[in-house]
Symmetry: C2
């Protein structure tokens, strides 16, 4: 079959807050091929992603994503890998390329797997999907007391693992951070898996992380996530070497395989967190999972939005029994909650699974999305380059 149509739907909550909550908007991608429909989501800024899809050619290696996707042959996984490589080769000088490609690549895997009637993880070569322990992923609350309550609530809901991140972390004193970690541990209980996400607060300065490492030890973090920007490899390496007992996690900011590779090989992260909606899709996420297997570290999804994005990010590592933990956002904005009637819910034992259904197993509820739709119209030189299609 061939890629017949690719459409983007920019969805947003009526009000966007200053929270670092990626579920406040969404860029849905629909791919039609051979009578099937596939869906993906770019975990990225919607308008620049659409612009990188439809913009005019600048020169030989500064071409829009659509140049390599529209009309492309799509019969097996190697076709997706070829499209993925060509998008990047011809988009070398177009920085936004990886983020646009991500949603498109996810939709390509979905439509191809649907056409064959198998889950995406099977198409990737994994015969089986293993259960994952979901960790409730929430923003750190403003006070230790509120964090304690939040952790209690998460535990009551049946989660054995929780991650608190961004918000006040690192923004005040060492003592404030310690009290937050202490509150989270107490709320979660001694046997819970506790994760802290520093939200790149220290950019590339290892000192505040080094200062906290010892003080955080009593609260037994399974990992400290993103103390630095993904590019700050020296800072990661410094902390990893000084405190091997404090496992570092990172990777959500990676938009290609090289960045993920460097975080592991040069930065020393022990948990590689990949968002299929940013790294270049399921194609690159899967390469990162192979990297984690070879390196003997742990692959984890990064997901802070819809069930569609969660399924996409689960596919790449569903087939590896050793990779047991999975990010599971629990405080999503209504947009992301309502994005599909299909859900990924914990089973009776508290585990989540990649959907045992064709493709990603998640079909967006476009009718429900109508109220969140922001129609986009882009004109360049008097020509309409993009216009959001009607929802039928």
């Amino acid at each position: 079959m061939r890629v017949e149509a690719v459409d983007f739907f920019y969805l947003a909550m009526p009000e966007i807050t200053d929270e670092v909550d990626g579920s406040q908007d969404a860029l849905l991608v629909r791919v039609r091929a051979g009578g099937f429909e596939g869906w993906g989501e770019c975990e990225a800024a919607p308008l620049p992603c659409i612009a990188a899809w439809c913009c005019p050619v600048s020169h030989g290696v500064c071409k829009p994503v659509k140049f390599s996707v529209e009309g492309a042959t799509l019969n097996d996984p190697d076709d997706i890998r070829r499209i993925n490589a060509e998008v990047r080769r011809l988009g070398l000088d177009l920085l936004q390329t990886d983020h646009t490609l991500s949603g498109v690549d996810v939709a390509l895997w979905d439509v191809l797997a649907r056409s064959k009637g198998v889950p995406v993880y099977e198409l990737l070569g994994d015969g089986k999907s293993y259960p994952k322990t979901p960790y409730a992923s929430v923003l750190l609350q403003d006070t230790p007391q509120a964090t304690y309550e939040k952790a209690k609530e998460i535990r009551r809901k049946g989660f054995r693992a929780a991650k608190f991140g961004w918000g006040p972390w690192g923004a005040k004193t060492l003592q404030d951070d310690i009290e937050q970690a202490k509150a989270a541990r107490e709320g979660l209980g001694e046997d819970g898996i506790l994760l802290i996400d520093a939200g790149t607060i220290w950019r590339d300065d290892p000192a505040p992380a080094l200062e906290r490492a010892e003080a955080l030890r009593p609260y037994r973090l399974t990992w400290l996530e993103e103390p630095f920007r993904s590019e700050a490899l020296d800072a990661y390496r410094t902390v990893a070497e000084a405190h091997p007992e404090l496992s570092l996690a990172g990777g959500e900011g990676a938009n290609n395989y090289y960045m993920a590779h460097d975080l592991v090989a040069r930065g020393g992260v022990k948990y590689l967190q990949i968002d299929a909606g940013r790294i270049g899709g399921i194609t690159t996420a899967y390469e990162c999972r192979l990297l984690a297997e070879r390196a003997g570290i742990t692959y984890v999804n990064h997901t802070f939005t819809s069930a569609l994005a969660l399924s996409a990010s689960l596919q790449a590592f569903a087939g590896v029994e050793r990779f047991q933990i999975a990010e599971y956002p629990t405080d999503l904005k209504p947009l992301a909650q309502e994005l599909s009637k299909d859900k990924i819910l914990p089973d009776a034992e508290g585990y989540i699974h990649a959907p045992n259904a064709p493709g990603l197993g998640i079909t967006p509820d476009l009718q429900a999305m109508k109220k969140y739709l922001l129609p986009v119209r882009i004109e360049v030189g008097g020509k309409v380059l993009y216009e959001t299609p009607e929802i039928e």
Copy 2:
């Protein structure tokens, strides 16, 4: 003073060819502050850059560039550094940010230096601008004979140095590449400075570069440029270690300081090529120049478009006598040639200089650009987010 207005002008040749020639279009940025006008250029895909300027906020660290620029205080260089850092902090999840920031940052330096009546390099702290030996930068011709003729012509025009790149390099056999290098050397003469730009043709595979290193030795390349993508640090390192006599150059693909740093510290490049229109502006270009000074390697501009872009890229290293060579495109498309009446031309001894004039010393000729202007209009959710202003 304050940043009162920022406007973008998307210019393009009537026909865009498949050549890897960045002078086929341009994104001009105009900043108005305190009664002065400053100009910059994003060496990037125009439409995605405009989208990253004006898009709606997605969440706390996925904000458009304008969020941190419009209305900002602008009295001294530290204001620009603060704006630059804030754009990146609040644009963490917006991939295109660095490319948009680049042109804006250049225009901020221009307007600030104009307001003070000094060249930008003085504002950067350099008391003096040193002459640079321009190398004629052209695309590799389709046949060795044509390359030979081109090299002869370059020499006749008075250039002592030339770079040939992209086109057929690496696309055929080892023997073809050798014949091209031989032709270029013969045309340029034994005393010419010869540079080859491989245009990332081998992506991340060191084998073809290793295979060519020995065979290229007789033609005495001053450098082999970009055999790989900027992210392929292992490939750079492999070739740098196996063939220390073959200096590698790279950096034009770097869109932040970390990537430039890694090419030097981990990739082993000996010539760091920075485009102010991509790396995040003159602010980051200058940080890269300091890096090159510390590392004892050579900083070079990357420029393949207008005199405005050339001036912007010269400012960061004009003040360092040891950095003697400068990229100088000689086959620009009419758009880039006509972009300003102000030019940067070789002096009687064949050297070029950063303009000894306020700001960048290059004022775009907007009237001449009218025929290349592609008006842009972006609507989201029924609101006009961007519309190209009239040229007065």
